[in-house]
């Protein structure tokens, strides 16, 4: 309004002065004009996004399954230093806030992301920073563990994106039209891969080099290969193998618990990118979970193999592991390549590892 008023005033002055100062007045339009254009452009983009989201929502309500559609914005994301941005965000949100300001900031966060503040274990004033508030613990009994001994519980608060049984090919569907292999998610040195390869060797009774030897060479091939050739063992299904993908919204409780009683035998840290992992990103960015920074825990439970991959996202790339507090993720990289081999640790004593009970806290997603 002030801009329009200014335009009217200037036009009036120009007309009364006979147009002599039109050039200098013309320059004064540039800044507000550019601001106006930017606001209009951002408004248009936001309106278009809302329109797209509405269309998608309508399609989903009609039962249509959303398909993978790579777009330019996703390509643009690859150029951004998302790891550095996330670290900066972590430092910013790690700054101690004045006590009087804390409840206001945390309530605003809770309003924006639908967090339940009543479940927080401590009064809001006691969380020194937003980062600390983000990984807050909950009051006792807020998350009762289901009493059925024959059930596998959810390790996190979140939304179920995908689940099912792993069939031949061992592929997990990211979204309709795009899948990734389990071995590229967990690592080629996964016990799952090794066991499957051993099964193949036993069946064919052919003497080959050991799987571990092969794995040392193949990590980079898997990281750089196109999705079609990522699966190194497409012909070896393991029966009774299931998967479940759970997405945590920014306002959710961000600690990870043990889904069953199990022994964690190994940990693998994949230093990767930090793309967003929201619903839109799953539709537009290929290999999202395979490329992002993640920590994989592997072990055994009473029914066999168990693995859990905690996958970071933009601004939430700092994964804290309570069974290994020294582990640090999203650290500055010296190499430019994103496809480094994972850093692996076998927990002692070998074959036993770290024993966890159902419901035990294992890890947390931190800002940074």
């Amino acid at each position: 309004t002030s801009f329009l008023r200014k335009v009217q005033t200037t036009q009036y002055r120009a007309s009364t002065n006979g147009g002599g100062s039109s050039r200098s007045e013309g320059n004064s339009y540039l800044v507000p004009g550019a601001t106006m254009a930017t606001i209009v452009m951002l408004g248009a983009l936001h309106a278009r996004r809302l329109y797209d989201d509405k269309k998608l929502e309508e399609a989903r309500d009609k039962g249509a399954e959303l398909e993978f559609q790579p777009d330019v914005k996703a390509t643009f994301l690859r150029l951004l230093p998302l790891r550095s941005i996330s670290r900066f965000w972590g430092s910013l949100t790690g700054m101690e806030l004045p006590i009087w300001l804390r409840p206001h900031v945390y309530r605003a966060w809770a309003r924006a992301f639908h967090s339940n503040l009543e479940e927080a274990a401590k009064p809001l004033e006691e969380y020194a920073s937003l980062r600390e508030f983000f990984v807050r613990t909950l009051k006792e009994d807020c998350r009762p563990i289901h009493s059925d001994p024959c059930c596998l519980i959810s390790p996190v608060d979140g939304t179920v994106l995908r689940f099912g049984e792993l069939k031949e090919g061992m592929m997990i569907e990211q979204v309709k039209g795009f899948s990734y292999s389990v071995s590229s998610l967990l690592g080629t040195s996964s016990f799952l891969t090794v066991k499957a390869e051993e099964d193949v060797q036993q069946e064919s009774i052919v003497q080959e080099k050991t799987p571990r030897d092969g794995n040392k060479k193949s990590w980079w091939r898997i990281a750089l290969a196109s999705p079609k050739v990522r699966d190194p063992m497409p012909t070896c299904p393991m029966k009774g193998l299931f998967y479940c993908v759970l997405y945590l919204h920014p306002g959710d409780y961000h600690r990870i618990h043990s889904p069953v009683d199990w022994n964690v035998l190994a940990r693998r840290h994949f230093s990767g990118r930090l793309f967003p992992v929201n619903e839109r990103a799953t539709r537009t960015i290929g290999n999202l979970y395979v490329e992002n920074e993640r920590v994989v825990l592997e072990g055994r439970w009473e029914e066999g193999f168990m693995a859990m991959a905690a996958i970071g996202a933009t601004n939430i790339g700092s994964i804290e592991l309570f069974i290994e507090p020294a582990l640090r993720t999203n650290r500055p990289k010296k190499k430019l390549l994103h496809s480094e081999p994972p850093e692996e640790r076998i927990y002692e004593p070998e074959g036993v590892g770290v024993m966890l009970k159902k419901g035990d806290e294992i890890a947390a997603f931190n800002m940074g």
């Binding site: 479940c244 997405y247 859990m308």
Partner: protein
């Protein structure tokens, strides 16, 4: 953030019965909200 679970779960005792589905059943649906401690799935106790 995202968590992916990969796990083995009980399978039918009948060897060679390829038509039988696994005994483990998920108790959630796609898009469901779930919280820590709530069952993701269960199997029959042998």
């Amino acid at each position: 953030s995202t968590v992916v679970l990969v796990f083995q779960a009980p399978i039918p005792k009948l060897a060679g019965d390829k038509s039988a589905s696994s005994e483990f059943k998920f108790s959630v649906g796609r898009g469901d909200r779930i919280r820590v401690g709530e069952p993701l799935g269960r199997w029959c106790d042998s």
